[in-house]
């Protein structure tokens, strides 16, 4: 992992965010999914809280397993998402780094990351007896269509009315535009940061960006978030100009697909470093970049609909395969790692075919490793490391 000076600023931001969440008396709290249109909430002074982000924190802190076991003992199947199980466990025991999340006033979820979130949030809604607003973002089998954009925009209008009713005051469209621009600015800076991974040697590696992802997920739309990424960008751009790599030696350059394996983040970072392999691009972190590409101030909902319909995992295989192949070229990769995440089915389904096709299109080797983002029982060091070493050897053969 690379030491960035900006990291202390991020820790401060996140600490302040969770402190506010735990102590606020005046702001209503909404639990939201990572792909929810959080700009509506910041515009109305609602504090969004992310169970997924909290589960990731529990995973990285290696405390997810007892929480998962608690959830399973309460009757949740071991086959459901480990973020959901970690969250249920943390909620039941007030466990994890900040002793559980503050109770929600309402819930907002979007189906653009998976369909599990519907059932997950229904469980939470029943427990806390709070309203749940679902933004349904259909899967893009063959790209965006006018119908899909209109369908999603209409739901944003309904969300506006929902918030007005819930808060008993009119929706502030002006403030919303400000938040939207702030969100887009941060998202664009995040993308600029990630694109610096094209530099050889790469000034950061993907394990770093998994950590530095927290503010763009939780705080996008706030000026603090935008300022943070500007700071991080300047530091990384400076490293990039000076040719300072994240690894002392960069023999291989690879892509990481799917979520991180939070409870093995450091071990895997060390493992990749020992083998002089820099992970320079990840589809997961890329998902929060470039949200504002279709921004049109006169029709803000349309651009937002496009952005929230288009995450990588909400799009069809052909798109994914071509996207991966493009990244292999653009980032001068020597190979790619596909993490088949037991918990994240929409991200993992079809991976064998994807590996085959991306290899065929790019002539670069890839490997599939089996793991999980939060459940350590679904992970075996020796099996994964053997497969990764086989990838290194395959990259040697082709170099």
């Amino acid at each position: 992992m690379t030491d960035f000076q900006a990291a202390s600023k991020m820790r401060e931001l996140m600490a302040r965010y969770y402190f506010e969440a735990k102590t606020t008396k005046e702001k209503p709290i909404a639990w939201v999914t990572s792909g929810a249109p959080v700009e509506f909430l910041y515009a109305m002074d609602i504090l969004p809280i992310y169970p997924e982000n909290y589960s990731a924190m529990c995973g990285a802190a290696k405390v997810s397993l007892p929480l998962i076991e608690t959830a399973e003992a309460a009757g949740f199947s071991s086959d459901i998402c480990s973020y959901a199980r970690t969250d249920f466990g943390a909620d039941l025991t007030r466990g994890g780094p900040v002793q559980g999340l503050p109770a929600p006033s309402f819930l907002l979820c979007s189906t653009n990351i998976c369909k599990t979130v519907i059932k997950w949030y229904e469980v939470v809604a029943r427990k806390y007896r709070v309203p749940l607003f679902i933004v349904d973002t259909p899967f893009l089998h063959d790209g965006l269509t006018r119908e899909l954009i209109d369908y999603t925009s209409m739901q944003f209008e309904a969300l506006e009315r929902f918030l007005e009713e819930f808060l008993g005051r009119p929706f502030d469209r002006e403030r919303f535009q400000e938040v939207l621009q702030e969100s887009y600015k941060a998202s664009n800076t995040w993308r600029k940061i990630l694109e610096l991974g094209k530099t050889r040697p790469s000034p950061f590696n993907s394990q770093d960006t998994f950590i530095h992802l927290a503010p763009i997920v939780t705080l996008r739309g706030t000026p603090e978030c935008t300022a943070y990424y500007q700071l991080l960008y300047e530091e990384i751009a400076d490293r990039s100009r000076k040719g300072i790599g994240s690894l002392s030696k960069e023999k291989y350059r690879a892509l990481w697909d799917n979520l991180p394996i939070w409870f093995r983040l450091r071990r895997l970072a060390n493992f990749f470093e020992e083998h002089e392999c820099a992970l320079v691009v990840a589809t997961y972190t890329n998902s929060w970049g470039g949200l504002g590409d279709d921004y049109n101030p006169s029709r803000p909902y349309e651009g937002l609909a496009r952005a929230y319909l288009s995450p990588y995992i909400n799009a069809g295989f052909e798109h994914r395969i071509n996207y991966l192949a493009t990244l292999v070229e653009e980032y001068s990769l020597t190979g790619f790692v596909l993490h088949s995440d037991r918990s994240c089915k929409p991200y993992s389904v079809g991976m064998y075919r994807m590996q085959e096709e991306v290899s065929r299109l790019t002539g670069r080797p890839g490997v599939i490793i089996e793991g999980d983002m939060c459940d350590p029982r679904a992970y075996a060091d020796a099996q994964v490391e053997t497969r990764l070493e086989a990838l290194f050897e395959a990259m040697d053969e082709l170099s």
Partner: protein, 260 residues
């Protein structure tokens, strides 16, 4: 004279191979890994040296492979089983195009190009079904030895199917077949067919072409080899000692490294 060694410490057996400058095998050993993989690797190496009449000091290079490859103290370099099986199989059959290796914990299919270069490979998912461990557990359930399993399976007259792909569930399925009074030969055959089926699916992922070589301990099971050949529609060549292919490949890599 220079000697080179390969030590393959896997989940079930530790194998060592010693070769001379011309890449002739001059000694080898196969022993169970048991709980102390480091000691097993050393012991297999010691036995191979003893059988060849070579002293450890006379060995110019040692490469390790297998699950405990990083823990083999005698080795200067560790390589994965993929590279080692490809190298070993290519040495024995220079026209090899597809390698299927079923080891104790992993099964893999490797597509090799000219010179034994690895073009593509696929490995089993984390489940142990279809591996050597699966076969061992099933032999245990039937109360027979591994070598007997193949002979028994080849004597089968009635085709029955084990539907479960999970080792644990398949074991209970075998137990219930026994209690139904099904013939042990037919059960053994069903077990071998289950492995062949799973392995054929894995091999299809890398694309199969002639010549197909099977390595690893399970290649000793004639019934599995025959059923797999039927499924693939290709003949399968098996080295005389399929289990030591990985260690042989490691020794060949040690020899190549010292030349470069």
């Amino acid at each position: 004279m220079n000697w080179y060694a390969g030590i393959d410490v896997g989940s079930l057996t530790a194998d060592a191979v010693l070769i001379d400058e011309e890449a002739n095998v001059v000694g080898f050993a196969i022993i169970p890994t048991s709980y102390d993989s480091m000691a097993a690797g050393s012991e297999a190496y010691r036995l191979a040296l003893e059988r060849a009449g070579v002293l450890e000091d006379e060995v110019s290079g040692v490469v390790s492979t297998g699950y405990s490859r990083a823990r083999v103290q005698e080795a200067q370099v560790a390589r994965t089983e993929i590279s080692c099986h490809a190298r070993g199989a290519f040495h024995i059959f220079s026209d090899v195009a597809t390698i299927i290796d079923i080891g104790g914990q992993d099964s893999k299919a490797i597509r090799v190009g000219p010179g034994g270069r690895v073009l593509d490979f696929a490995m089993n998912d984390k489940c142990a079904a279809g591996t050597g461990r699966f076969l061992e557990v099933m032999a245990g359930a039937l109360g027979i030895s591994l070598p007997d399993m193949a002979d028994l399976a080849l004597a089968s007259t009635v085709e029955i199917t084990i539907s479960s792909t999970c080792t644990v569930f398949a074991e209970s399925e075998v137990v219930s077949l026994i209690s139904q009074g099904r013939a042990p030969a037919d059960i053994a055959s069903a077990i071998c067919r289950a492995i062949a089926q799973r392995t054929a699916g894995l091999a299809a992922r890398v694309g199969i072409s002639d010549r197909v070589v099977m390595t690893g301990g399970v290649a000793k099971n004639q019934a599995v080899v025959r059923m797999l050949a039927d499924k693939l529609g290709f003949g399968i060549s098996v080295p005389e000692e399929p289990q030591i292919t990985g260690a042989l490949g490691a020794a060949l890599i040690a020899r190549a490294n010292s030349a470069s």
